[in-house]
């Protein structure tokens, strides 16, 4: 039968030669291959002790940002909640009182800010929507939890450490974020 394209490659099915029919040389060859793999580098990452380095654009757990004086950036405008396709963000706004200027940067702040990590799809649209640089996606992912409730992260879990009171933790949390800003 004529072939439709001219690319047909006819394979000749040869009967097995004597060496092939012995079967043992092939087994020894296979065993040599598996033996050589004993000395190969292991692909395993021993998770809790070792962690896979994430790419700088990795979108992980959210961080609520503070400015240099440690005041919260978020003004509870609700743009992130509107942008969120999974409807994972809820918040309640409150007005800043007279003696709270050191806590919140602007007159309005988020009294309650919750992200449901079971709903969140880590798309990063909240980060793009935020006009105040208040929310970022970090390079860690949500650890496992026993209850569904444990996946609803409240404000104290999301907030970045205080830059003056808790300087070391702040620097550690900032590194990944700053690298991301450079991109």
């Amino acid at each position: 039968m004529a072939s439709l394209t001219n690319r047909v490659k006819v394979l000749e099915q040869q009967p097995l030669s004597f060496m092939e029919r012995l079967y043992l040389p092939a087994i020894f060859k296979g065993m040599a291959i598996t033996f050589s793999h004993i000395f190969k580098k292991k692909a395993t990452i021993r998770y809790p002790e070792e962690k896979r380095p994430f790419s700088p654009v990795f979108r992980g757990l959210h961080v609520l940002n503070r400015d240099e004086e440690g005041r919260e950036n978020c003004t509870a405008c609700g743009l992130c909640a509107v942008a969120c396709p999974a409807e994972a963000i809820t918040m309640e706004a409150a007005e800043r009182q007279k003696n709270e200027e050191h806590l919140y940067r602007e007159e309005k702040y988020a009294a309650k800010y919750e992200i449901n990590m079971l709903r969140c799809i880590f798309c990063g649209l909240c980060e793009e929507a935020c006009p105040k640089d208040a929310i970022y996606l970090s390079e860690t992912f949500a650890p496992a939890n026993f209850t569904r409730k444990g996946f609803i992260y409240s404000k104290d879990e999301l907030l970045i450490p205080h830059p003056i009171n808790d300087k070391e933790a702040y620097e550690a949390a900032k590194v990944s974020r700053v690298e991301k800003l450079k991109k």
């Binding site: 087994i27 296979g30 065993m31 291959i33 598996t34 793999h37 004993i38 692909a43 395993t44 021993r46």
Partner: protein, 357 residues
Amino acid sequence: MEMMQVDMLLILEKLLLIGGIITFSLVIAMYTTYAERKVAAVMQDRVGPNRAGPFGLLQPLADGLKLFFKEEIIPLTSNKLLFVLGPALAMVTAMLTSAVIPWGSSIEIFGRNVSLQIADVNIGILYVFGVVSLGVYGIMIGGWSSNNKFSLIAAVRGASQIISYELAMGLSLIALLMMTGSLSMKTIVEQQMSGGWGGLLGWNVLYQPLGFLIFLICVFAECNRTPFDLPEAENELNFGYHQEYSSMKLGFYLFAEYVNMFISSAVVSTLFFGGYDIPFVNEATLALSWGDNIVALLGFVSLFSKIVFFLFLFMWVRWTIPRFRYDQLMDLGWKKLIPLALANMIITAIVILWLNK
């Protein structure tokens, strides 16, 4: 009265030896499961169990503990007596073979000469064959009494496989027995020890390479190890004959497989690799300067390292090659190995006659 005393001591000595060997085999079998997982892992570029204890060394204990705490399920439609008997039989037959294997030469304790062999029966190899063929009853009874079609198919497969490969196994050994002229395992080891290079040139594998190869392949088949693990083929039979088993009854089946591997490795080392012979060392002259006990111990270490090598070979092959198809298995057994074993037998006979002329 004097007679009585000696007999009691002998019984005590043998009981201690039996207890020791059974404990030893069980511990080795336990750690063979660990080794299997480690070997599988490193051959697949993984790390393997490393959580329970240092290097995961407590993993077999954790596995055993888990099996003990699992729910014991006996299927409603099964034959309950046989269902319980199956794993017990598999375990017992796996352990029985160790009775005739010489684990070392003799040691001296309190002036008594204690042989490191439970029973030096003059038909040792015949006994091994007898017990090995009993081993199929564990699989047969387990598969049959489960009242499950997969188990039954697996049992039938296992039975026919073991019967087929026993033939080639026996035939390959006949050539060896024609050379040694004895069925006693101890005599066979001692004959090998008298060879050149401290016994190395006396090893039967040098005189019976083909016989060794056939024997080894048959041992793989008898132990139901890959590439002959058809009775427990996961993908087609859903774990085969032990599918309906749970808890420690399943553990017994899995464990019996590893005990079987250990004992088979011991048999192969004894018959073909000089048993407790230490290569390049003349045991008799060494015993004069170091004493019998140390040489016996070294001999045991030598046998044990041979066994470990064969255990590794079992795993190495398992993680290298895929399973045979059932017709290929039968084809290999009946049409390839048996004629080869027969040819080997005839050639050996001719050579022996030629040399004795």
